[in-house]
């Protein structure tokens, strides 16, 4: 167990060193792909919290991502608020919206809960399309201001891809640390217990409904942050953000990387986004190849890539020891 922890720390340190140095030896396009990965990492962490820790599959993640994006864009465009404030507001609004949604949704279990969150995603898209006075409907919002790092309107404006990259990396690191703190707190232990056996958790004094709500709200807050960064990077947002494609990508990252693990989801964000980008060399068969590779992953390691890797490492170490 101790060596696993050492291995994990070493893995994260190595990865961070690589990511810090990456713009030095990668081209602009590859750095852009890394930014996309880091953008997906935030809602993926949220999905991992609610699915991997609290045991509930939510399709509402991209709805909260979209809410965060619209909130950020509207604030920046109408009031010229600074990036940090947009980010906090996006996260907060997503979290606040999650509360009234959680009341009906968390009464449900398993498939009913999944269906309910799917409903939220559909409603979010419909609202974005039809609330034209606020969202400009299908046209979407464009010319969203670039992020400015400063207390108010003056400060460093993020322009180059490299600058964006380091901003995304900083957000990613903060999010990973926040996630780690959360899941290793007593509340995180209760969430795992609720995932494993809700009745048993309640019998040990866990107010299970509150923790499921907390997981739902916090997952929305992670997604809201991701949406905020997304909109300041692309500087456009439209209702297509609620398309199932994005939600599916999140699922692939979390399930393919290793649900309920932190390293798996971090690795998954890079691997599956990179995979999708690499396959652009063959645009005709890109999505077919992507789908086939997913099938291979599912058959090869049903628990996800990281758990498979960890098991291999453990077996090798045991073989070395004997």
């Amino acid at each position: 167990m101790g060596t696993d922890r050492g291995l994990r720390a070493a893995g994260f340190a190595g990865m961070l060193a690589f990511l810090l140095a990456a713009p030095g030896f990668l081209g602009e396009y590859q750095v852009h792909a890394l930014i996309v990965s880091l953008t997906f990492l935030l809602p993926a962490l949220g999905l991992n919290l609610i699915l991997g820790y609290a045991g509930m599959l939510s399709f509402a993640q991209m709805a909260f991502f979209g809410i965060g994006a619209y909130v950020s864009a509207l604030m920046a465009m109408r009031w010229g608020t600074p990036f940090w404030l947009n980010l906090c507001a996006a996260s907060l609004v997503a979290g606040i919206v999650a509360v009234p949604l959680g009341f009906p949704a968390l009464r449900l279990r398993r498939y009913s809960f999944v269906m309910c969150t799917l409903g939220f995603a559909v409603i979010a898209q419909t609202l974005a399309k039809n609330w034209v006075s606020l969202t400009r409907g299908d046209l979407g919002l464009s010319n969203v201001p670039r992020p400015v790092l400063g207390l108010w309107s003056s400060g460093l404006e993020i322009r180059s891809v490299t600058q964006y990259y380091y901003l995304a990396l900083a957000l990613g690191v903060i999010a990973v640390l926040a996630f780690l703190a959360l899941v290793s707190s007593p509340a995180g232990r209760y969430m795992i217990a609720i995932r494993e056996d809700e009745t048993l958790a309640a019998s040990l004094g866990a107010p299970t409904w509150r923790y499921r709500m907390a997981a739902f709200v916090l997952s929305a807050m992670f997604a809201g942050c991701g949406g905020s960064f997304y909109v300041h990077y692309y500087t456009v947002i439209s209702p297509t953000i609620f398309d199932p494609y994005y939600g599916n990508t999140l699922l692939v990252i979390v399930l393919g990387g290793g649900v309920g693990t932190l390293g798996g989801v971090v690795a998954g964000s890079f691997i599956f986004v990179a995979l999708s980008e690499v396959l652009r060399v063959a645009p005709d068969i890109r999505m077919i190849a992507y789908g086939l590779l997913l099938i291979v992953v599912v058959f090869g390691c049903p628990e996800g890539l990281l758990p498979l890797l960890m098991r291999r490492l453990r077996t090798w170490r045991r073989a070395d020891a004997t």
Binding site: S185, E196, S203, L204, G205
Partner: protein
């Protein structure tokens, strides 16, 4: 009859129907502080349902529950555990299999070490010092029940009997006043049954914990309990010391008929 407010647990008119089937039929029962009370009866006589209704897992059709003088009727399960300190075990779902033995105990102790909801989101030093204390207590409790050598094993990989001992240990971590045990000895080998009886006796003697034990193993019940209550078709048909109860003709008949 008014509830006995000095009792550890006092039930008045507890009833539970499933449609037209009466599982528990207007049961009045007082368990004095510090008693080890056995509860037995044929399958389907309403023992587990009675537990479920006392601990908030199921809503009773009628009746009231008092724990240490406080009415807990209608409370949610986690609140009965936290505030009334009445905790229960289950026949089947025994432990969290994906966690280590020690983590199972830390989890159970969290309600004592981190009592508020927000306190459970503690990070940094507050988290570490609280969890360190729980790990120390977990070590003591494991020594007590005789599972110290299993501390870092996955709870799902130890034997069923050991899981039952672990479940008993998790309940001790929660500082309970009353422990309701649902068939703690079913499927457990004789050596571990001996150990389970010793553990219950010690917790009762040293910490004054009141016990209600549902069990079919009458020999174990005779060795353990101060008092034996027999349920049949949702009603109490006998309530006395174990030696007297097992000789009652209607008890013998209920068992044979059941």
């Amino acid at each position: 009859m008014p509830p006995d407010r000095t009792a550890a647990l006092s039930l008045r008119g507890m009833a539970k129907n499933f449609g037209s089937i009466v599982a528990v039929d207007a049961v009045d029962l007082d368990i004095p502080q510090g008693q080890i009370c056995g509860l037995t009866g044929p399958n389907g006589s309403g023992k587990s349902t009675l537990f479920d209704c006392c601990t908030g897992l199921q809503k009773a059709t009628a009746g009231r529950v008092f724990a240490g003088g406080t009415e807990v009727t209608g409370w949610e399960m986690h609140r009965i555990v936290r505030e009334a300190r009445v905790i229960r075990s289950f026949q089947k779902a025994v432990v969290l299999r994906a966690m280590t033995v020690e983590d199972n105990l830390v989890l159970a102790g969290q309600m004592v070490a981190f009592p508020g909801f927000l306190a459970t989101f503690a990070i940094g030093r507050a988290n570490r010092s609280g969890v360190r204390q729980l790990r120390e207590r977990a070590g003591d409790v494991l020594d007590l029940v005789g599972l110290a050598h299993m501390r870092h094993a996955d709870a799902g990989k130890i034997s069923f009997g050991q899981q039952k001992l672990l479940q008993f240990a998790t309940m001790l971590m929660a500082d309970p006043r009353v422990i309701l045990l649902d068939e703690p000895m079913a499927g457990v080998n004789p050596v571990l049954i001996e150990r389970m009886i010793a553990n219950i006796n010690r917790a009762n003697r040293d910490h004054g914990i009141t016990f209600v034990v549902v069990e079919h193993n009458l020999d174990a019940m005779k060795a353990l309990c101060h008092r034996l209550v027999v349920l049949s078709r949702g009603r109490i048909i006998a309530d006395d010391t174990p030696d007297i109860v097992v000789r009652q003709p209607d008890v013998v008949e209920a068992y044979l008929a059941g």
